[in-house]
Protein backbone atom coordinates (compact mmCIF):
# COMPACT_ATOMS: atom_id res chain seq x y z
CA UNK A 1 0.00 0.00 0.00
CA UNK A 2 1.54 3.32 -1.04
CA UNK A 3 -1.27 5.87 -0.75
CA UNK A 4 -4.36 6.28 1.40
CA UNK A 5 -6.87 8.07 -0.79
CA UNK A 6 -10.15 6.36 -0.10
CA UNK A 7 -11.55 3.71 2.22
CA UNK A 8 -12.53 1.78 -0.92
CA UNK A 9 -8.79 1.12 -1.49
CA UNK A 10 -8.66 -0.93 1.73
CA UNK A 11 -9.48 -4.59 2.23
CA UNK A 12 -11.07 -5.71 5.48
CA UNK A 13 -7.76 -7.32 6.52
CA UNK A 14 -5.83 -4.10 5.86
CA UNK A 15 -8.36 -2.01 7.78
CA UNK A 16 -8.26 -4.32 10.79
CA UNK A 17 -4.46 -4.39 10.66
CA UNK A 18 -4.38 -0.57 10.84
CA UNK A 19 -6.72 -0.65 13.86
CA UNK A 20 -4.59 -3.34 15.56
CA UNK A 21 -1.41 -1.37 14.89
CA UNK A 22 -3.10 1.73 16.35
CA UNK A 23 -4.01 -0.22 19.49
CA UNK A 24 -0.35 -1.06 20.07
CA UNK A 25 0.75 2.48 19.23
CA UNK A 26 -1.75 3.94 21.72
CA UNK A 27 0.63 2.55 24.34
CA UNK A 28 3.27 5.00 23.17
CA UNK A 29 0.92 7.93 23.70
CA UNK A 30 0.29 6.66 27.24
CA UNK A 31 3.95 6.01 28.02
CA UNK A 32 6.51 8.28 29.66
CA UNK A 33 8.54 8.67 26.46
CA UNK A 34 6.11 9.60 23.68
CA UNK A 35 8.51 8.93 20.85
CA UNK A 36 9.60 6.08 18.59
CA UNK A 37 12.56 6.22 16.18
CA UNK A 38 10.72 4.43 13.37
CA UNK A 39 10.44 7.23 10.76
CA UNK A 40 13.66 9.04 11.59
CA UNK A 41 14.97 10.88 8.54
CA UNK A 42 11.63 10.86 6.70
CA UNK A 43 9.96 14.11 5.72
CA UNK A 44 6.21 14.49 5.89
CA UNK A 45 4.50 17.57 4.48
CA UNK A 46 1.13 18.68 5.79
CA UNK A 47 -0.39 20.43 2.79
CA UNK A 48 -3.59 22.03 4.04
CA UNK A 49 -5.38 24.06 1.38
CA UNK A 50 -8.45 24.20 3.59
CA UNK A 51 -8.81 25.07 7.28
CA UNK A 52 -8.35 22.38 9.89
CA UNK A 53 -7.47 22.16 13.57
CA UNK A 54 -7.80 18.55 14.64
CA UNK A 55 -6.64 16.74 11.53
CA UNK A 56 -3.55 18.87 10.98
CA UNK A 57 -2.26 18.83 14.56
CA UNK A 58 -3.19 15.17 14.83
CA UNK A 59 -1.11 14.25 11.77
CA UNK A 60 1.66 16.51 13.02
CA UNK A 61 1.70 14.87 16.47
CA UNK A 62 1.56 11.40 14.89
CA UNK A 63 4.50 12.13 12.57
CA UNK A 64 6.55 13.67 15.38
CA UNK A 65 5.93 10.72 17.73
CA UNK A 66 7.42 8.52 15.00
CA UNK A 67 10.42 10.90 14.74
CA UNK A 68 9.65 12.10 11.20
CA UNK A 69 10.42 15.67 10.16
CA UNK A 70 7.23 17.66 9.61
CA UNK A 71 6.74 20.62 7.33
CA UNK A 72 3.44 22.45 7.73
CA UNK A 73 2.08 24.21 4.77
CA UNK A 74 -1.26 25.95 4.74
CA UNK A 75 -3.03 27.92 2.04
CA UNK A 76 -2.99 31.13 4.03
CA UNK A 77 0.51 32.55 4.02
CA UNK A 78 1.75 30.43 1.11
CA UNK A 79 1.84 30.77 -2.66
CA UNK A 80 -1.40 28.78 -2.85
CA UNK A 81 -3.18 31.99 -1.89
CA UNK A 82 -1.37 33.69 -4.80
CA UNK A 83 -2.98 31.17 -7.15
CA UNK A 84 -0.16 28.63 -7.53
CA UNK A 85 -1.41 25.41 -9.11
CA UNK A 86 -1.46 22.05 -7.36
CA UNK A 87 1.10 20.79 -9.87
CA UNK A 88 3.63 23.52 -9.12
CA UNK A 89 3.13 23.02 -5.40
CA UNK A 90 3.68 19.27 -5.82
CA UNK A 91 6.84 19.79 -7.88
CA UNK A 92 8.17 22.08 -5.16
CA UNK A 93 7.50 19.47 -2.49
CA UNK A 94 9.16 16.79 -4.63
CA UNK A 95 12.23 18.97 -5.05
CA UNK A 96 12.42 19.28 -1.26
CA UNK A 97 12.37 15.50 -0.89
CA UNK A 98 8.99 14.92 0.76
CA UNK A 99 8.45 11.23 1.53
CA UNK A 100 4.73 11.76 2.13
CA UNK A 101 2.18 14.50 1.62
CA UNK A 102 -0.84 14.75 3.86
CA UNK A 103 -3.27 16.76 1.78
CA UNK A 104 -6.51 18.50 2.56
CA UNK A 105 -8.17 20.26 -0.33
CA UNK A 106 -11.56 21.79 -1.04
CA UNK A 107 -11.68 20.03 -4.43
CA UNK A 108 -12.88 16.43 -4.35
CA UNK A 109 -10.26 14.25 -6.03
CA UNK A 110 -7.25 16.52 -5.48
CA UNK A 111 -5.35 13.77 -3.56
CA UNK A 112 -6.16 11.28 -6.34
CA UNK A 113 -4.78 13.71 -8.92
CA UNK A 114 -1.58 14.04 -6.90
CA UNK A 115 -1.21 10.27 -6.51
CA UNK A 116 -1.88 9.46 -10.16
CA UNK A 117 0.47 12.09 -11.48
CA UNK A 118 4.22 11.74 -11.86
CA UNK A 119 4.72 15.08 -10.11
CA UNK A 120 6.01 13.44 -6.99
CA UNK A 121 7.20 10.02 -5.86
CA UNK A 122 6.13 10.05 -2.21
CA UNK A 123 3.01 8.68 -0.55
CA UNK A 124 -0.21 10.69 -0.65
CA UNK A 125 -2.55 10.65 2.32
CA UNK A 126 -6.01 12.10 1.93
CA UNK A 127 -6.84 14.26 4.94
CA UNK A 128 -10.21 15.30 3.52
CA UNK A 129 -11.02 16.30 -0.04
CA UNK A 130 -14.09 18.40 -0.73
CA UNK A 131 -17.24 16.39 -0.14
CA UNK A 132 -15.56 13.13 -1.19
CA UNK A 133 -13.70 11.27 1.57
CA UNK A 134 -11.83 11.59 4.86
CA UNK A 135 -10.37 8.10 5.38
CA UNK A 136 -8.24 8.78 8.49
CA UNK A 137 -11.31 10.15 10.30
CA UNK A 138 -13.30 7.02 9.43
CA UNK A 139 -10.46 4.82 10.72
CA UNK A 140 -10.27 6.69 14.02
CA UNK A 141 -14.07 6.51 14.36
CA UNK A 142 -13.98 2.75 13.74
CA UNK A 143 -11.14 2.47 16.27
CA UNK A 144 -13.21 4.35 18.88
CA UNK A 145 -16.33 2.27 18.16
CA UNK A 146 -14.36 -0.97 18.35
CA UNK A 147 -12.87 0.04 21.69
CA UNK A 148 -16.27 0.83 23.24
CA UNK A 149 -18.74 -1.50 21.54
CA UNK A 150 -17.01 -4.52 19.99
CA UNK A 151 -16.58 -6.40 23.31
CA UNK A 152 -13.15 -7.71 22.31
CA UNK A 153 -14.09 -8.49 18.67
CA UNK A 154 -11.65 -7.59 15.89
CA UNK A 155 -14.29 -6.13 13.56
CA UNK A 156 -17.59 -4.29 14.11
CA UNK A 157 -19.90 -7.15 13.25
CA UNK A 158 -23.53 -6.32 14.04
CA UNK A 159 -22.85 -2.97 15.75
CA UNK A 160 -25.63 -0.49 14.94
CA UNK A 161 -24.52 3.03 14.02
CA UNK A 162 -26.70 6.05 13.24
CA UNK A 163 -25.04 8.85 11.29
CA UNK A 164 -27.13 11.97 11.78
CA UNK A 165 -27.23 15.33 10.02
CA UNK A 166 -25.59 16.92 7.00
CA UNK A 167 -24.77 13.75 5.01
CA UNK A 168 -24.84 15.68 1.73
CA UNK A 169 -21.73 17.77 2.43
CA UNK A 170 -19.99 15.25 4.65
CA UNK A 171 -16.84 13.47 3.50
CA UNK A 172 -16.72 11.96 6.99
CA UNK A 173 -20.08 10.25 6.37
CA UNK A 174 -18.95 8.85 3.01
CA UNK A 175 -15.77 7.34 4.40
CA UNK A 176 -17.57 6.08 7.49
CA UNK A 177 -20.33 4.37 5.50
CA UNK A 178 -17.70 2.52 3.44
CA UNK A 179 -15.56 1.50 6.39
CA UNK A 180 -18.36 0.61 8.81
CA UNK A 181 -19.94 -1.51 6.10
CA UNK A 182 -16.59 -3.18 5.35
CA UNK A 183 -16.20 -4.04 9.04
CA UNK A 184 -19.70 -5.47 9.36
CA UNK A 185 -21.54 -2.68 11.18
CA UNK A 186 -25.12 -1.77 10.27
CA UNK A 187 -25.48 1.89 9.38
CA UNK A 188 -28.60 4.06 9.41
CA UNK A 189 -28.44 7.56 7.96
CA UNK A 190 -30.76 10.09 9.59
CA UNK A 191 -31.24 13.45 7.88
CA UNK A 192 -33.80 15.68 6.25
CA UNK A 193 -34.26 14.64 2.57
CA UNK A 194 -32.59 17.86 1.44
CA UNK A 195 -29.36 16.90 3.18
CA UNK A 196 -29.09 13.41 1.64
CA UNK A 197 -27.05 13.09 -1.55
CA UNK A 198 -28.46 11.96 -4.88
CA UNK A 199 -28.04 8.20 -5.26
CA UNK A 200 -28.03 7.50 -1.53
CA UNK A 201 -30.50 4.63 -2.16
CA UNK A 202 -27.64 2.62 -3.65
CA UNK A 203 -25.47 2.99 -0.52
CA UNK A 204 -25.32 -0.05 1.81
CA UNK A 205 -27.36 1.74 4.50
CA UNK A 206 -30.86 2.21 5.88
CA UNK A 207 -32.32 5.69 5.66
CA UNK A 208 -34.61 7.39 8.15
CA UNK A 209 -36.06 10.88 8.43
CA UNK A 210 -37.04 10.45 12.08
CA UNK A 211 -34.28 10.59 14.68
CA UNK A 212 -36.57 9.67 17.60
CA UNK A 213 -37.48 6.34 15.98
CA UNK A 214 -33.85 5.39 15.40
CA UNK A 215 -32.08 6.66 18.49
CA UNK A 216 -33.26 3.97 20.93
CA UNK A 217 -32.09 1.10 18.71
CA UNK A 218 -28.45 1.94 18.04
CA UNK A 219 -25.11 1.47 19.81
CA UNK A 220 -23.49 4.57 18.35
CA UNK A 221 -24.93 7.98 17.44
CA UNK A 222 -22.56 9.91 15.22
CA UNK A 223 -23.58 13.56 14.86
CA UNK A 224 -22.31 15.51 11.85
CA UNK A 225 -21.58 19.20 11.66
CA UNK A 226 -24.01 21.29 9.65
CA UNK A 227 -21.58 22.66 7.06
CA UNK A 228 -22.98 26.12 6.61
CA UNK A 229 -19.91 27.25 4.66
CA UNK A 230 -20.78 24.76 1.89
CA UNK A 231 -24.49 25.63 1.88
CA UNK A 232 -25.21 28.03 -0.93
CA UNK A 233 -28.89 27.13 -0.89
CA UNK A 234 -31.65 26.75 1.65
CA UNK A 235 -31.59 23.18 2.95
CA UNK A 236 -33.85 23.63 5.99
CA UNK A 237 -36.24 26.41 7.04
CA UNK A 238 -34.18 27.64 9.98
CA UNK A 239 -31.63 26.40 12.50
CA UNK A 240 -34.15 26.18 15.35
CA UNK A 241 -36.30 23.81 13.37
CA UNK A 242 -33.26 21.75 12.38
CA UNK A 243 -32.21 21.46 16.05
CA UNK A 244 -35.70 20.40 17.07
CA UNK A 245 -35.89 17.54 14.55
CA UNK A 246 -32.28 16.46 14.07
CA UNK A 247 -30.30 17.88 17.01
CA UNK A 248 -29.10 15.73 19.89
CA UNK A 249 -30.29 17.15 23.20
CA UNK A 250 -30.69 15.88 26.76
CA UNK A 251 -34.21 14.53 26.10
CA UNK A 252 -33.03 12.44 23.16
CA UNK A 253 -29.99 11.27 25.16
CA UNK A 254 -32.44 9.69 27.62
CA UNK A 255 -33.94 7.62 24.78
CA UNK A 256 -30.57 6.06 23.97
CA UNK A 257 -29.65 2.65 25.39
CA UNK A 258 -27.49 2.87 28.49
CA UNK A 259 -24.22 1.60 26.95
CA UNK A 260 -24.42 3.54 23.69
CA UNK A 261 -22.00 6.34 22.83
CA UNK A 262 -22.21 9.78 21.20
CA UNK A 263 -19.61 10.74 18.61
CA UNK A 264 -18.89 13.88 16.59
CA UNK A 265 -15.97 14.39 14.19
CA UNK A 266 -15.68 18.07 15.16
CA UNK A 267 -15.73 20.97 14.94
CA UNK A 268 -19.10 21.11 16.72
CA UNK A 269 -21.79 23.72 16.31
CA UNK A 270 -22.85 23.63 19.94
CA UNK A 271 -26.54 24.39 20.14
CA UNK A 272 -27.23 23.43 16.51
CA UNK A 273 -26.69 19.70 15.90
CA UNK A 274 -25.67 18.92 19.49
CA UNK A 275 -26.33 20.71 22.77
CA UNK A 276 -23.45 21.57 25.10
CA UNK A 277 -25.03 19.37 27.76
CA UNK A 278 -24.82 16.28 25.52
CA UNK A 279 -21.37 17.13 24.13
CA UNK A 280 -19.96 17.31 27.66
CA UNK A 281 -21.88 14.32 29.03
CA UNK A 282 -20.30 11.05 30.15
CA UNK A 283 -21.82 9.31 27.12
CA UNK A 284 -19.84 11.53 24.74
CA UNK A 285 -16.50 10.18 23.45
CA UNK A 286 -15.79 13.28 21.35
CA UNK A 287 -12.58 14.25 23.15
CA UNK A 288 -11.41 10.63 23.15
CA UNK A 289 -11.87 10.56 19.35
CA UNK A 290 -9.20 13.25 19.12
CA UNK A 291 -6.75 11.26 21.26
CA UNK A 292 -7.45 8.11 19.25
CA UNK A 293 -6.85 10.12 16.08
CA UNK A 294 -3.16 10.46 16.90
CA UNK A 295 -2.73 6.68 17.42
CA UNK A 296 -4.64 5.84 14.24
CA UNK A 297 -2.66 8.36 12.18
CA UNK A 298 0.60 6.95 13.58
CA UNK A 299 -0.59 3.54 12.37
CA UNK A 300 -1.39 4.95 8.91
CA UNK A 301 2.03 6.60 8.63
CA UNK A 302 3.70 3.41 9.87
CA UNK A 303 1.90 1.18 7.36
CA UNK A 304 2.56 3.54 4.42
CA UNK A 305 6.08 4.70 5.22
CA UNK A 306 7.93 2.28 7.48
CA UNK A 307 8.27 -0.53 4.96
CA UNK A 308 10.66 -0.49 2.08
CA UNK A 309 9.81 -0.13 -1.60
CA UNK A 310 9.93 -3.89 -2.20
CA UNK A 311 7.14 -6.20 -1.11
CA UNK A 312 9.60 -8.93 -0.13
CA UNK A 313 9.52 -10.89 3.11
CA UNK A 314 11.38 -13.70 4.86
CA UNK A 315 13.83 -13.76 7.75
Amino acid sequence: MRHLLSISDLTKVQAISILDTATELARVSDGAVKKLPTLRGRTIVNLFAEDSTRTRISFEAAAKRLSADVINFSAKGSSLSKGESLKDTALTLQAMGADAVVIRHSASGAPQRLADSDWMTGSVINAGDGTHEHPSQALLDAFTIRKHCAKGGVDLDGIRVAIVGDILHSRVARSNVLLLNLLGARVTLVAPPTLLPVGVESWPVKISYDLDKVIGNVDVVMMLRVQQERMNDLFFPNTREYSRYFGLNADRLKLMSHDSIVMHPGPMNRGLEITAEVADSARSVIVEQVANGVSVRMAILYVLLAGGPLESGGK
Partner: protein, 175 residues
Protein backbone atom coordinates in the same frame (compact mmCIF):
# COMPACT_ATOMS: atom_id res chain seq x y z
CA UNK B 1 15.52 -30.05 5.86
CA UNK B 2 17.33 -31.56 8.82
CA UNK B 3 16.16 -31.79 12.41
CA UNK B 4 18.44 -29.87 14.80
CA UNK B 5 16.47 -30.11 18.06
CA UNK B 6 13.63 -32.48 18.92
CA UNK B 7 10.91 -31.76 21.50
CA UNK B 8 12.83 -33.42 24.40
CA UNK B 9 16.00 -31.55 23.32
CA UNK B 10 14.14 -28.24 23.55
CA UNK B 11 12.74 -29.05 26.99
CA UNK B 12 16.21 -30.08 28.22
CA UNK B 13 17.79 -26.91 26.80
CA UNK B 14 15.19 -24.68 28.47
CA UNK B 15 15.60 -26.45 31.81
CA UNK B 16 19.37 -26.01 31.61
CA UNK B 17 18.99 -22.30 30.72
CA UNK B 18 16.66 -21.89 33.73
CA UNK B 19 19.28 -23.37 36.06
CA UNK B 20 22.05 -21.27 34.52
CA UNK B 21 20.08 -18.03 34.89
CA UNK B 22 19.44 -18.75 38.58
CA UNK B 23 23.08 -19.71 39.08
CA UNK B 24 24.34 -16.48 37.52
CA UNK B 25 21.81 -14.28 39.36
CA UNK B 26 21.91 -15.11 43.04
CA UNK B 27 19.22 -12.54 43.91
CA UNK B 28 16.48 -14.51 42.19
CA UNK B 29 13.75 -12.09 43.41
CA UNK B 30 15.31 -9.37 41.23
CA UNK B 31 15.00 -11.30 37.95
CA UNK B 32 12.52 -10.20 35.25
CA UNK B 33 12.12 -12.14 32.00
CA UNK B 34 11.12 -10.41 28.75
CA UNK B 35 10.54 -12.44 25.60
CA UNK B 36 10.66 -11.04 22.07
CA UNK B 37 7.37 -11.91 20.27
CA UNK B 38 6.28 -14.23 18.92
CA UNK B 39 8.30 -17.31 19.83
CA UNK B 40 10.67 -15.64 22.27
CA UNK B 41 7.63 -14.63 24.34
CA UNK B 42 6.45 -18.25 24.54
CA UNK B 43 9.96 -19.41 25.48
CA UNK B 44 10.03 -16.76 28.23
CA UNK B 45 6.80 -18.12 29.71
CA UNK B 46 8.21 -21.66 29.69
CA UNK B 47 11.53 -20.60 31.25
CA UNK B 48 9.67 -18.57 33.90
CA UNK B 49 7.59 -21.63 34.85
CA UNK B 50 10.69 -23.81 35.00
CA UNK B 51 12.60 -21.22 37.08
CA UNK B 52 9.64 -20.82 39.43
CA UNK B 53 9.67 -24.53 40.23
CA UNK B 54 13.41 -24.41 40.94
CA UNK B 55 13.51 -21.13 42.88
CA UNK B 56 10.24 -21.74 44.72
CA UNK B 57 8.67 -18.40 43.86
CA UNK B 58 7.05 -16.83 40.78
CA UNK B 59 9.32 -15.06 38.29
CA UNK B 60 7.86 -11.93 36.61
CA UNK B 61 7.59 -12.42 32.85
CA UNK B 62 6.46 -10.17 29.99
CA UNK B 63 7.04 -9.47 26.35
CA UNK B 64 8.74 -6.68 24.46
CA UNK B 65 7.95 -5.81 20.85
CA UNK B 66 10.92 -4.33 19.05
CA UNK B 67 9.41 -3.73 15.58
CA UNK B 68 9.42 0.06 15.82
CA UNK B 69 13.12 0.07 16.73
CA UNK B 70 14.38 -2.14 13.88
CA UNK B 71 17.02 -0.68 11.57
CA UNK B 72 15.91 -2.80 8.61
CA UNK B 73 12.28 -1.60 8.43
CA UNK B 74 12.87 0.10 5.10
CA UNK B 75 14.28 -3.04 3.52
CA UNK B 76 11.03 -5.02 3.50
CA UNK B 77 7.26 -4.75 3.62
CA UNK B 78 5.85 -3.29 6.85
CA UNK B 79 5.76 -5.78 9.69
CA UNK B 80 2.78 -6.07 12.00
CA UNK B 81 3.35 -4.62 15.44
CA UNK B 82 3.16 -7.16 18.27
CA UNK B 83 1.95 -6.51 21.81
CA UNK B 84 4.27 -5.39 24.60
CA UNK B 85 3.48 -6.25 28.20
CA UNK B 86 5.75 -5.29 31.06
CA UNK B 87 5.26 -7.05 34.42
CA UNK B 88 3.70 -4.80 37.06
CA UNK B 89 6.96 -4.68 39.04
CA UNK B 90 8.58 -2.83 36.12
CA UNK B 91 12.21 -3.27 35.07
CA UNK B 92 13.85 -0.41 36.99
CA UNK B 93 16.94 -1.70 38.79
CA UNK B 94 16.12 -5.34 38.02
CA UNK B 95 18.25 -8.09 36.47
CA UNK B 96 16.55 -8.35 33.13
CA UNK B 97 16.83 -11.43 30.92
CA UNK B 98 15.89 -10.94 27.27
CA UNK B 99 14.73 -14.13 25.60
CA UNK B 100 14.58 -14.88 21.88
CA UNK B 101 14.38 -18.02 19.78
CA UNK B 102 17.27 -17.56 17.33
CA UNK B 103 20.33 -15.31 17.66
CA UNK B 104 21.53 -14.46 14.15
CA UNK B 105 22.73 -10.99 13.05
CA UNK B 106 22.18 -9.47 16.51
CA UNK B 107 20.03 -6.67 15.08
CA UNK B 108 16.88 -7.76 16.89
CA UNK B 109 18.73 -7.61 20.20
CA UNK B 110 20.16 -4.17 19.40
CA UNK B 111 16.60 -3.01 18.72
CA UNK B 112 15.46 -4.61 21.98
CA UNK B 113 18.13 -2.70 23.93
CA UNK B 114 16.83 0.53 22.36
CA UNK B 115 13.24 -0.38 23.16
CA UNK B 116 14.19 -1.05 26.80
CA UNK B 117 15.59 2.45 27.10
CA UNK B 118 12.06 3.83 26.83
CA UNK B 119 10.72 1.63 29.60
CA UNK B 120 13.35 1.97 32.29
CA UNK B 121 16.90 1.28 33.40
CA UNK B 122 17.51 -2.29 34.52
CA UNK B 123 20.51 -3.10 36.74
CA UNK B 124 21.76 -5.64 34.19
CA UNK B 125 20.51 -6.91 30.84
CA UNK B 126 21.34 -10.51 29.91
CA UNK B 127 20.41 -12.52 26.85
CA UNK B 128 19.12 -16.07 26.62
CA UNK B 129 18.45 -17.76 23.25
CA UNK B 130 17.33 -21.21 22.26
CA UNK B 131 19.62 -21.34 19.22
CA UNK B 132 22.76 -19.38 18.34
CA UNK B 133 23.32 -19.85 14.63
CA UNK B 134 26.30 -17.48 14.23
CA UNK B 135 26.83 -14.82 11.50
CA UNK B 136 26.74 -11.85 13.87
CA UNK B 137 26.76 -8.38 12.31
CA UNK B 138 27.00 -6.51 15.62
CA UNK B 139 29.12 -6.91 18.79
CA UNK B 140 26.41 -8.86 20.66
CA UNK B 141 26.64 -12.27 22.35
CA UNK B 142 24.24 -14.42 24.35
CA UNK B 143 24.77 -15.17 28.05
CA UNK B 144 22.69 -18.35 27.95
CA UNK B 145 22.49 -20.54 24.85
CA UNK B 146 20.32 -23.64 24.38
CA UNK B 147 22.28 -24.93 21.41
CA UNK B 148 25.09 -23.57 19.24
CA UNK B 149 24.11 -24.44 15.71
CA UNK B 150 26.78 -23.90 13.04
CA UNK B 151 24.98 -22.88 9.82
CA UNK B 152 25.86 -21.47 6.45
CA UNK B 153 24.50 -18.01 5.66
CA UNK B 154 22.21 -19.40 2.95
CA UNK B 155 20.45 -21.81 5.31
CA UNK B 156 17.49 -20.78 7.44
CA UNK B 157 16.73 -21.97 10.96
CA UNK B 158 13.05 -22.69 11.70
CA UNK B 159 11.86 -22.84 15.28
CA UNK B 160 8.47 -24.45 15.85
CA UNK B 161 6.82 -24.25 19.26
CA UNK B 162 3.69 -26.10 20.29
CA UNK B 163 1.97 -22.82 21.39
CA UNK B 164 1.95 -21.44 17.84
CA UNK B 165 2.91 -24.30 15.51
CA UNK B 166 1.46 -27.32 17.31
CA UNK B 167 4.86 -29.02 17.55
CA UNK B 168 8.20 -28.47 19.33
CA UNK B 169 11.08 -28.69 16.89
CA UNK B 170 14.05 -26.80 15.46
CA UNK B 171 15.15 -27.55 11.92
CA UNK B 172 17.63 -26.26 9.37
CA UNK B 173 16.37 -25.63 5.84
CA UNK B 174 18.30 -24.99 2.66
CA UNK B 175 16.91 -22.00 0.82
Amino acid sequence: MSLALSAPDITRALTRISHEILEANTASDQIVLLGVPTRGAHLAVRIAASMASIAGHAIPVGMLDITMHRDDLRMRAPRPIMPTSIPSCGIEGRDLILIDDVLFSGRTIRAALDALGEIGRPHTVQLAVLVDRGHRELPIRADFVGKNLPTSITQSVKVHLSEVDGIDEVSIEES
